[in-house]
Amino acid sequence: MDLNIIWFILVGVLLTGYAILDGFDLGVGALHLLTKTDEERRISINSIGPVWDGNEVWLVTGGGALFAAFPDVYATVFSGFYIAFMLLLFVLIFRAVAIEFRSKQESKRWRGAWDIAFSVSSIIIALLMGVAIGNIIRGIPVGADKEFAGTFLGLLNPYSLLVGITTVALFTMHGAIYLVMKTEGELQNKVRTWVNNTIIFFVICFVTATMATLIYYPNMITHFKDNPSFFLVAIVTMLAIANIPREINNKREFRAFLSSASTIALLLVLFAIGIFPNIVLSNPIVENSLTIYNASSSQKTLMIMLIMAIIGMPFVVAYTIIIHKIYKGKVKLDDTSY
């Protein structure tokens, strides 16, 4: 295993961390408008209140790591997906602002407006991330100069939108399970009914997207053919998904949450195996693809950063666990809440 592969994995770990952690924030956001009273909505927001911005840091650091380890990928994708990234920035800002500002006024209209902003921006964030993944699977037009040669509308193709909707479904399910853990009483019973619906919604999307991938983008299965042991990952993914309704029915929410977190991680592992060693597949001119070798920083820099990661990551994991431990359990509204 060389440094380039290690960094491919590490960037993947950071983005997976983001998907698992902010994934439930986005899911809670997507479900937010289903809660009705102000108290329920406050519980919904406060369930992610102390943790959402720490969760977003995984995206920021993932972006920084991509910039440092694979500058050409960072440059090509961020400038190529310009409009998409700008929209992503706006909805990320909007979500932050909505969470922060909603509680500052009592007025119904004020809160109602921020509730909509919070929910819609959460859904759009998830959708855009999925669309990006869809386009990476399909491949995007890249020129010999490593620059993106397509258009914004070209990114909004049916397959990528399907992956986008699947991502929304996945995070919504994940968020619903998280919300069951954080709520109690009548609200919890209500949320519990949503979980089953979100599981069904996700499974339908997942199966459709998987079929579409197998039919239209067989490039994703090359490594699975060459190395059948990878198929085990696919089987474990199915088991993780199947385990979610089982745990929910047995009222073991935390284990259900672990299952959906594993589902997210495993889906991203399948995705990573599929695209390897490309990070940006060039379609139609495959030779222009950006791989973990032709798009990376120097070996020396990858080594320096690996040392930094070895020093820094234990702290990151420790903070994450400590914070989630301190705030585990049911949401209790007090004078510091949103």
Partner: protein, 456 residues
């Protein structure tokens, strides 16, 4: 308009807006450590009230910083793709270090700071405050290192990477401690401390004028004043260090600071207006030979002038001159205000002098202005280079992004930032007018209502 100008306008606008907030976080963070430290040490409830109030302001400011900061990280890639390819090996690692070492620290412990009062012990809370303050400064370390490398690149070599030239690290510590890193870091941090200190001074002065939260205001003011005095004087030293460093590392920038065209013993201007065509400073008042003296300790020693550089290698002069001189003028004003405050405090007049308190209320804007002006002089003074003497700004933009796309994003940024700013000011104003909780004084209608509520 061409894409280079548009991309520069967008970057300047988004970074200027972003940079309103981090200096407050850094400055206020230091003050929070002192405030909560006093509480932990004395157990005096008033310090708890003070800490809790300023943490609420801190949280609001921090949220603004995060929301606008993520834009900056993305913008290198979206608008400056060629730059990103060129510097990714060097600059990217500093950004990644900021994420791994600083952001997680800050955001993790901030959750305890804001929401943890009832969940963790006082000591753990105090520890979290220290960590958040430390994290915010660590974040400044990495971002200033990255920016300083653009000003004075070191520890790298240029490599042909598949037909494209780029910079790669040869010596990590030489890159981190490049010639301008330390000078610029302490200058930036000290500016941030001033920003936090004068915010607290301003709000406290406001309460004193309104005759509200008197004890709270006096104690807050004393804490902030100690930082203001230290930081404003320290800024003299760091500013001098920076300018001296620039004289050897970026002589064109120093020449632009003073509108100095011909290599000769150079005066130091107090103010003036540069006429670039006639190559002279109009309406100026200057101390002859002073720049030579400050730079080399010799009034007669020549300072390199702009004419020693090719016209295409010179920065725009007047804007650099004006922003630099305004920044220096504000710096001295802040020293004056800090020392005058101390004098009045000694004479027991600080809390009573209405005129001076009014000046302090307005003074919150001064460090903010100085921060912005300082960055303008540093970054415009670096032009036409994006990485000094290595890569020109015009060669650094994204090739696949058109002007229409940038106009679209620029309009959206303008709208959303205008909205953000209005909301921020509105909420800040409300929090300040509302004042600290548990205030002992009569706070008018609100506290009466609360008193009734509590009695029930």
């Amino acid at each position: 308009m061409d894409t280079e100008i548009l991309a520069r306008i967008q970057f300047a606008f988004t970074i200027a807006f972003h940079y309103i907030y981090p200096p407050i976080s850094i400055g206020l963070g230091v003050l929070l450590v002192i405030m909560e430290g006093m509480y932990v040490k004395t157990g005096n409830k008033i310090y708890e009230t003070i800490t809790k109030f300023w943490i609420k302001i801190f949280a609001l400011v921090f949220a603004m910083g995060v929301a606008t900061g993520i834009v900056m990280e993305f913008e290198f890639g979206t608008n400056w793709a060629t730059y990103s390819r060129f510097v990714g090996d060097v600059f990217g690692s500093a950004l990644a270090a900021e994420g791994i070492f600083a952001f997680f620290l800050e955001s993790g412990f901030l959750a305890i700071l804001v929401f943890g009062w009832n969940r963790v012990s006082t000591r753990m809370h105090f520890f979290s405050t220290i960590m958040v303050s430390f994290g915010s400064m660590l974040s400044a370390v990495w971002i200033v290192v990255a920016n300083s490398w653009q000003q004075t690149p070191a520890g790298y070599h240029i490599v042909n990477n598949g037909g494209f030239l780029r910079a790669e690290i040869t010596d990590f510590w030489a890159m981190v401690f490049n010639p301008s890193s330390v000078d610029r870091l302490i200058h930036t941090l000290s500016g941030a401390w001033l920003t936090g200190a004068f915010l607290v001074l301003s709000v406290s002065a406001f309460y004193l004028l309104k005759n509200r939260h008197i004890d709270f205001a006096k104690k807050s003011m004393k804490i902030a004043l100690s930082l203001a005095i230290f930081a404003s004087l320290f800024q003299l030293f760091t500013g001098h260090q920076s300018a001296q460093g620039i004289s050897s590392t970026q002589p064109a920038k120093l020449a632009a600071f003073e509108g100095h065209y011909n290599t000769s013993p150079a005066p130091l201007y107090l103010f003036g207006w540069v006429n670039n065509d006639e190559q002279k400073v109009n309406f100026g008042v200057s101390i002859p030979g002073m720049l030579s003296y400050l730079t080399y300790g010799d009034f007669q020693k020549p300072v390199k002038g702009l004419n020693d550089f090719k016209p295409e290698d010179r920065p725009p002069v007047n804007i650099v001159f004006q922003s630099y001189h305004l920044m220096v003028a504000i710096g001295f004003t802040l020293i004056g205000l800090s020392l005058l405050s101390l004098l009045l405090l000694r004479k027991d007049a600080l809390f009573k002098n209405k005129l001076f308190l009014k000046i302090l209320v307005g003074s919150v804007l001064l460090p903010q202005a100085a921060n912005q002006l300082g960055w303008i002089s540093a970054e415009v003074g670096r032009q036409p280079w994006i990485v000094y003497n290595l890569l020109r700004t015009k060669d650094a933009i994204s090739k696949s992004v058109g002007s229409g796309e940038i106009i679209f994003s620029l309009i959206l940024f303008t709208l959303i930032y205008a909205l953000l700013f209005v909301l921020f000011i509105f909420l800040l104003d409300r929090k300040i007018k509302h004042g600290p909780e548990d205030a002992t004084e009569n706070d008018g209608v609100y506290s009466e209502q609360k008193a009734i509520f509590k009695n029930k």
